[in-house]
């Protein structure tokens, strides 16, 4: 760090054998904002020095498999998504473009989520398996993917009665849209296009190419209700026929 600061915790970090990489990491630099009084009490004890710096491990050093204890603040999540939407809004013209952009950003998350979920499955279960049938894949998205991203399973999975290639995932109270009020002039916009992107990426990653879109289907009971519409490609249905 370029500046000098007579902070007790700072001096411990610099004299110990920590590499300079840790000084640049977000967790280590957060000591700049910590209250001086509380942590300095512990720094006088030799044994607790190590524990004091290891209470919050570097985000890159944490075990990928520990999903349960690592909770994220819903407010931080909401503010981050709000910024994403504002960022996107500045760069688009029209609702279609808006939704496409959000979809693309979600897609990038979806590819990573799929990778992570499969990795976690493989390390935890003795008989890891790869889903090749459509229904188990859709169920996996509805439960596992939703739990990993939003902390709860989606409220419903439905098959379209009109078209054989269409399926719908229903979320009554989507976490992303909980605090969002879309203005009237662009009321068709569904910010859950981001979620649709995640779903599209997971399906793509498992080789079930599809077009996924989000639609507001609000009713009196659930004003934020959203339907994620999955329109599968023809090849998927043909393969499904062969596997029967």
């Amino acid at each position: 760090m370029a500046y000098t600061q007579p902070h007790p915790r700072q001096s411990i970090l610099s004299t110990s054998s920590h590499s300079s990489v840790e000084h640049l990491s977000p967790t280590a630099s957060s000591t700049r904002f910590s209250l001086p009084a509380a942590p300095s009490i512990h720094t006088t004890l030799g044994s607790s020095r190590q524990t004091a710096t290891r209470v919050v491990p570097n985000i890159y050093d944490r075990n990928l498999n520990k999903a349960r204890s690592s909770e994220v603040s819903a407010s931080a999540y909401a503010f981050l998504f709000s910024e994403i939407v504002q960022y996107t809004q500045k760069r688009v013209s029209g609702i279609n473009d808006f939704e496409r952009r959000l979809n693309t950003m979600g897609y990038r998350i979806g590819t990573r989520i799929l990778e992570l979920l499969i990795w976690r499955n493989e390390s935890s279960s003795k008989t890891p398996k790869r889903e090749i049938r459509l229904l188990p894949v859709l169920l996996m998205i509805q439960s596992q993917v939703w739990k990993a991203v939003f902390g709860k399973a989606a409220d419903g999975l439905e098959k379209s009665s009109a078209n054989v290639d269409e399926y719908m995932i229903i979320d009554n109270d989507p976490l992303l849209e909980r605090h969002i009020s879309v203005p009237r002039d662009i009321s068709q916009l569904s910010c859950s296009s981001f979620t649709a992107g995640i779903v599209e990426a997971v399906l793509d990653g498992l080789n079930f190419p599809a077009r996924v879109t989000a639609h507001n289907t609000a009713n009196a009971q659930y004003p934020n209700k959203v339907t994620i519409l999955i329109k599968l490609e023809k090849s998927v249905l043909e393969r499904e026929e062969l596997l029967k």
């Binding site: 503010f79 709000s82 910024e83 504002q86 605090h179 969002i180 009020s181 203005p183 910010c191 004003p223």
Partner: protein, 136 residues
């Protein structure tokens, strides 16, 4: 026991949200509301410097013969003002909950510009729920 209205004044003294809930006070035009809010902003700034020893929170309650004005100043400088009858006892509590709703439904809404008038359906519903439940 009645709640007449709610104002939200931004840190520059502009009225960004105004809503009336009950009859009882003289109806003001929107221009008069704006002037009044700006004046209150100035008065509040003066009262916060009146304290002989150190800084002060500024005016918290302004009372008249027929109404009471409870002012809640947030750390960011936004003011929430609740106009109630004199007997209303839970004005502070209501303001606290409206502040919560404001942080949720307005500040986390990507379609709201800070310091600009509040137009958020989610906030409307939350405010109506709070005021509705508060008057029982």
């Amino acid at each position: 026991m009645a709640i007449f209205g709610l104002w939200i004044i931004n840190k520059a003294g502009g009225l960004v949200y105004q809503k009336s809930f009950a009859e009882g006070l003289a109806q003001l035009t929107s221009n008069e509301q704006l002037v009044l809010a700006g004046t209150l902003h100035g008065i509040h700034a003066i009262t916060s410097r009146l304290s002989p020893n150190g800084s002060s929170s500024g005016a918290n309650v302004i009372e008249g013969e027929t109404f009471k004005m409870t002012i809640f100043l947030t750390v960011t400088g936004t003011k929430f003002v609740l106009l109630t009858s004199l007997t209303e006892t839970i004005a502070e509590h209501i303001l606290q909950r409206i502040y919560e709703a404001y942080s949720d439904a307005v500040m986390k809404n990507p379609f709201h510009t800070p310091e600009m008038p509040v137009r958020s359906e989610g906030f409307e519903t939350r405010v109506n729920a709070i005021i509705g439940s508060g008057q029982t």
